[in-house]
């Protein structure tokens, strides 16, 4: 099967620190793939590279056969203004040739079909649940300044459609009763769920979840596993960072393990669990009973 997302020799340096070091992996369409590793291993950095928060120092990431991440061109080239790479649809063909160009910004990557959640909840706290999810729908619509000012028919229809889509996304994750609640007033578990709903509203082909089970109890984690499976059943590929080992082994079909920025193993849960390097990397970390590593707030 063609890889939906492919990283080759992915490297990221922050000054003297090498956060990600020559990592290769594939995420195939329709799979649920896990990205695990001890704290400080570079997992969120990899996510940030995928979603365009910063460009890699070396290596590439290809999504649907397009290079969405590559090292930035020399500063000289950067002086030349960007040419409409943001508009969904146009110029994508040009980008396929993977020539040096301006690194894609996160909103451009979202437009290409990758949506994510964050390690710490990044909801729009003072907006309602509905408004949060409507933000996810934003990039799928077009209405601009003139449409808003003149209140054109098309714009009004689009607005109604946006509300519909948002409500559908809420309903899908059983959040409909909380439609008009302010995001910051929701209990933590629901906030996490709302973040996923918002990401889904962007209709991604790949959903990147950064520690979705952090802070959830056993029952909530079980529900999360079911929901992720349902999402995959809808045709969305899922890429998950997690520390909760039980959840990862139960949920993911394919796992990539990183430690200190390097990939140390890749394979099915069974293979990974028996891998000597993986065991060594996790030895010395204190586990509690269900295999979850505490201190899940630290940088992976």
């Amino acid at each position: 099967m063609e890889a939906l997302l492919a990283a080759r020799d992915l490297t990221k340096r922050f000054g003297g620190l090498v956060a990600v070091d020559g990592v290769d992996f594939d995420v195939r369409a329709g799979e649920i793939v896990g990205l695990i590793g001890p704290n400080g291993a570079g997992k969120t950095t990899i996510f940030n590279l995928i979603t365009g928060i910063y460009p890699p120092s070396a290596g590439t990431i290809r999504f649907r056969d397009e290079a969405i991440a590559h090292p930035p061109p020399s500063w000289l080239a950067r002086l030349v203004p960007e040419r409409g790479r943001g508009r969904r649809g146009d110029q994508v063909a040009a980008a396929r040739h993977a020539g040096p160009g301006h690194p894609l910004r996160p909103h451009q990557i979202t437009a290409r079909g990758i949506a994510r959640t964050f390690q710490t909840v990044h909801l729009f706290r003072n907006l309602t649940a509905l408004e949060n999810v409507m933000a996810g729908v934003h990039h799928r619509t077009r209405a601009g300044v003139w449409g808003a000012l003149l209140k054109l028919r098309a714009q009004r229809r689009e607005e109604a459609w946006i509300v519909d889509e948002a409500e559908r996304a809420l309903a899908r994750l059983d959040l409909a009763p909380f439609r008009d609640e302010l995001a910051k007033n929701l209990p933590y578990g629901l906030q996490r769920r709302l973040e996923v709903a918002r990401a889904l509203a962007a209709k991604p082909a790949l959903l990147a979840l950064d520690e979705p089970a952090a802070g959830l109890n056993e029952q909530e984690t079980g529900e999360l596993i079911e929901r992720v499976r349902a999402i995959r059943a809808d045709g969305i590929t899922v890429f998950v960072i997690e520390h909760d080992m039980a959840m990862v082994m139960a949920l993911c079909e394919h796992i990539v393990v990183v430690d200190h920025g390097r990939k140390i193993a890749e394979g099915t849960p069974a293979e990974v669990q028996k891998n000597a390097d993986v065991i060594a990397a996790y030895l010395g970390e204190e586990d509690d009973e269900d295999g979850a590593v505490p201190d899940a707030q630290n940088e992976p």
């Binding site: 910004r105 909103h107 990044h122 729009f124 003072n126 907006l127 000012l149």
Partner: protein, 345 residues
């Protein structure tokens, strides 16, 4: 400042809620009031009313930048001046009737807004604010130094023709007032629509959490740029109206004090809310005009108001609900953090 629910407040909130359900009632009521307002007044007060309306338009234009996109613009008067001078120059040099110069003023101001903003959007909030101050001063100096020989130096340009509608010259203060009122209503309608549109939501999201907004597919740079350009362009319109009434434009309209007054109108009145802009305008512009004897101490009173407001009610007198929640939330977080620090961790 706890929550004190006195019965008066509860009563007022009840009325407010009822009005919110039928906006057309109070909107028409206000419009009628505005139309009738100048009739019993003398010319002096009609001019005060005109100035109030003009600054309200300016305040609304700035609220898009500060209130919606959350950018600290302390050089807004520069775009006001650019619009005024554009109208003046087109009228004086090319004989274009004033009302027809207004679209040009809008475009020129908007264009300048675009050119200025593009490179500075990636700057952090503090630094962005400083650049806007610097830009405001550069514009003022350019005007004083008679740039391109167009702007007439420290005394500015005079002899601008008054606006005329199909032969009827708009000369008396009351006619200027109605012209301004027309544009004010237009501005209010436009901003209201923007606020409740896809773009308005994008602005709110960018204000709340820029990183998340970008991750959701909102082009944050473009959205901020739009706010800036729209706000700057509309300030240009106000400038054109100003030129038409006073028939004289001078570099003084671009000075920092003007920008600060505008900024205060938005922030002290109530960031991000439309009624707040009016409250701010009344406080910063109308009241000082009405209490002439206090002129000498006006700046001091304004200063005191600013300090007191920030301590007592930083979200402004009539803030939008969201901003109020935001600011209270920030305060709670910050005091929570320092309380934790004092207790030791």
């Amino acid at each position: 400042m706890g929550v004190q629910m006195t019965s008066t407040r509860a009563g007022l909130e009840g009325i407010a809620a009822a009005l919110r359900r039928r906006p057309l009632i109070w909107q028409l009521g206000l419009l009628a009031l505005a139309l009738l307002l100048p009739l019993p007044l003398g010319d002096y007060y009609r001019t005060v009313a005109w100035r109030t309306g003009l600054y309200a338009i300016l305040g609304l234009s700035l609220t898009v930048i500060v209130g919606y996109a959350g950018l600290y613009q302390l050089g807004h008067a520069a775009f006001y001046a650019i619009g005024a001078y554009t109208s003046a120059i087109l009228n004086l040099r090319l004989g274009i009737p004033l009302l027809l110069t207004l679209p040009a003023s809008v475009c020129v101001s908007g264009l300048c807004g675009y050119v200025i903003t593009r490179p500075i959007l990636r700057l952090r909030g503090d630094y962005l604010m400083i650049v806007t101050i610097a830009f405001g001063e550069v514009v003022r100096l350019a005007l004083v130094n008679n740039i391109f020989g167009l702007t007439g130096g420290a005394n500015g340009l005079s002899g601008i023709a008054r606006p005329s509608l199909g032969g009827f010259e708009i000369r008396a203060p009351i006619h200027h007032y109605y012209l301004m009122l027309f544009f004010l209503v237009l501005t209010l309608a436009g901003i209201h629509r923007l606020q409740h549109s896809r773009l308005g939501r994008a602005w709110m999201c960018v204000r709340e959490d820029e990183e998340a907004a970008e991750a959701m597919g909102i082009d944050t740079t473009r959205v901020k740029l739009l706010a800036f350009v729209i706000g700057s362009a509309w300030a240009g319109l106000a400038g054109g109206l100003y030129a038409g009434k006073l028939t004289v434009v001078a570099p003084d309209i671009a000075k920092f004090m003007e920008s600060v007054v505008l900024f205060c109108i938005v922030v002290l009145g109530g960031t991000g809310s439309l009624p707040g802009v009016f409250v701010g305008t009344l406080g910063m512009v109308t009241l000082p005009e009405l209490f002439r004897p206090l002129r000498a101490w006006r700046d001091a009173w304004v200063g005191v108001a600013m300090v007191v407001m920030m301590i007592a009610r930083p979200e402004g007198l009539w803030p939008s609900r969201k901003v109020q929640l935001e600011i209270r939330g920030e305060k709670e977080e910050a005091s929570g953090r320092s309380a934790a620090a004092e207790a030791g961790s």
